[in-house]
């Protein structure tokens, strides 16, 4: 049988649903509710406004910490990639921060700065930042020297060189850091919320865990995954397409 390219993903999702349904019916336990039950819970939570509120709070944290980490990471990555001495000096720092467990930075941030919003954001940023720096630094090292020489001989300003010569070459690396960054950050945010905030997805999941409310946990998870998929589909994919249109 032949499926069109678009049909295949839909089919695979359907199969996943069927497997879930069969398992749930077979086990018939409150620990694995059927898709229908989860959908009902999802609808109830949406109507009460609980789910949109907590999802919104988490997304806001995601946007803020992601933006800060990407901006700082790109700037530092370019600097380290271009300046060998700075890179040699800070390389050890990077390795250390890359290897500190996320949980440790979260706990330390809360201990040092209190259970406040800024501490939560800081913890997420510290977890993501070294990743971005390393990716962008690798990208900067592969910059085409011929094009940089061209820019210099025609007296491009620093701004012009950055926008028109360096940035387009870094684009694949930035997109890579964005994708892996989103996946990493939202997982860390849930832990941050679980440990020290009184709203957001992580806080809610913690609550449901204490009540053994699996249907709600699944409903929230599906909502969140759907949102992340939408970000990919509506923001990242079009960005990719737009900036790669010069390729043959």
């Amino acid at each position: 049988m032949k499926f069109s390219k678009k049909g295949l993903p839909v089919l695979s999702l359907l199969v996943l649903l069927v497997v879930w349904q069969v398992m749930a019916v077979f086990l018939s336990s409150s620990l694995l509710p059927t898709p229908a039950v989860v959908a009902k819970v999802f609808w109830r939570e949406c109507e009460s406004g609980q789910l949109p509120y907590h999802l919104g709070v988490t997304l806001l944290r995601l946007v803020v910490s992601f933006s800060v980490a990407m901006l700082l990471g790109c700037a530092l990555g370019i600097v380290f990639g271009r300046n060998k001495q700075l890179d040699a000096f800070f390389d050890n720092w990077l390795v250390i921060f890359l290897n500190v467990p996320a949980l440790v930075t979260i706990i330390l941030c809360y201990v040092w700065f209190g259970l406040v919003e800024s501490a939560a954001i800081l913890a997420v940023v510290i977890n993501k930042l070294p990743n971005v720096i390393v990716t962008i630094r690798e990208g900067t090292r592969t910059l085409d020297q011929d094009l940089l020489d061209m820019a210099r001989s025609f007296h491009f300003s620093r701004r012009k060189t950055l926008i028109h010569v360096i940035w387009p070459q870094l684009h694949p690396f930035v997109m890579g850091a964005t994708r892996s960054g989103l996946a990493l950050i939202w997982k860390i945010i849930l832990v941050v919320e679980l440990l020290g905030r009184s709203n957001g997805m992580g806080y809610q999941l913690h609550l449901f865990f204490q009540l053994f409310d699996v249907a709600s946990i699944l409903a929230y998870t599906i909502a969140f995954v759907a949102v992340i998929q939408l970000i990919e589909l509506l923001i990242l994919k079009p960005l990719d397409k737009k900036s790669l249109r010069w390729r043959r």
Partner: protein, 246 residues
Amino acid sequence: MSDIQINIHSKNYPAIGQASHHKAIKDFKLLLRSGEFVCLVGPSGCGKTTLLNIIADLDKDYEGEILVGFEQAQPKIGYVFQNPRLLPWRTVRENLELVLGSDQALVNIDHLLEVMQLTQSQHVYPERLSLGMSRRVSIIRAFAVDPDVLLMDEPFVSLDAPTARQVRELLLRLWQDRSHTVLFVTHDLREAIALADRLIFLSAAPMRVITEVTVPVPRADRGDEKAIEVFRQQLLNDYPEIKQLL
């Protein structure tokens, strides 16, 4: 426009790894008169590109000086590299507009595109251009900044003969239109004779000037391959040391 005096006492590359210390240029002197088309002819690897990079201020690690008029200054450069070096993510026109400062007019570009027969392709991305077209774009880019001196580093290498001739003719048309000072590097003597007012013959590394010859062939006859061939034979007879260089 002023004359440009280039004096390079020495340029060395330090030893790195297996490669030993390399003397690229030694006691090199050259005067470029305003509006003159000068061809540098020398064996490959003799240091011609190094020289152009020094003049373009891409390489600051040398002993010597570059004088514009009588002052030590950085002449305004239009550089045509050996490979076209266009930004692949910008269209032909965007590539050209980028090199212009905010004070320079855009009108210029339309005219240059017209002369180089690229008006049709101005909104195309460089990856869709043939090599000959890319080369033409990079020549326009160098002219567009209205430079004190145009540096051209074998811009016709690896073009097939008819394309090379076409681009050469277009280049000459543009140059006569504008009359810039041009420093043109090649190892093809015929090409040099067809283009230059003056030929400078260079030794193998460390590079220095062996001899220089003014080309007597009138501009009108430069398209005539016979006239060029006659002068080439005469050159080879008069200066037997040139033969070893080519």
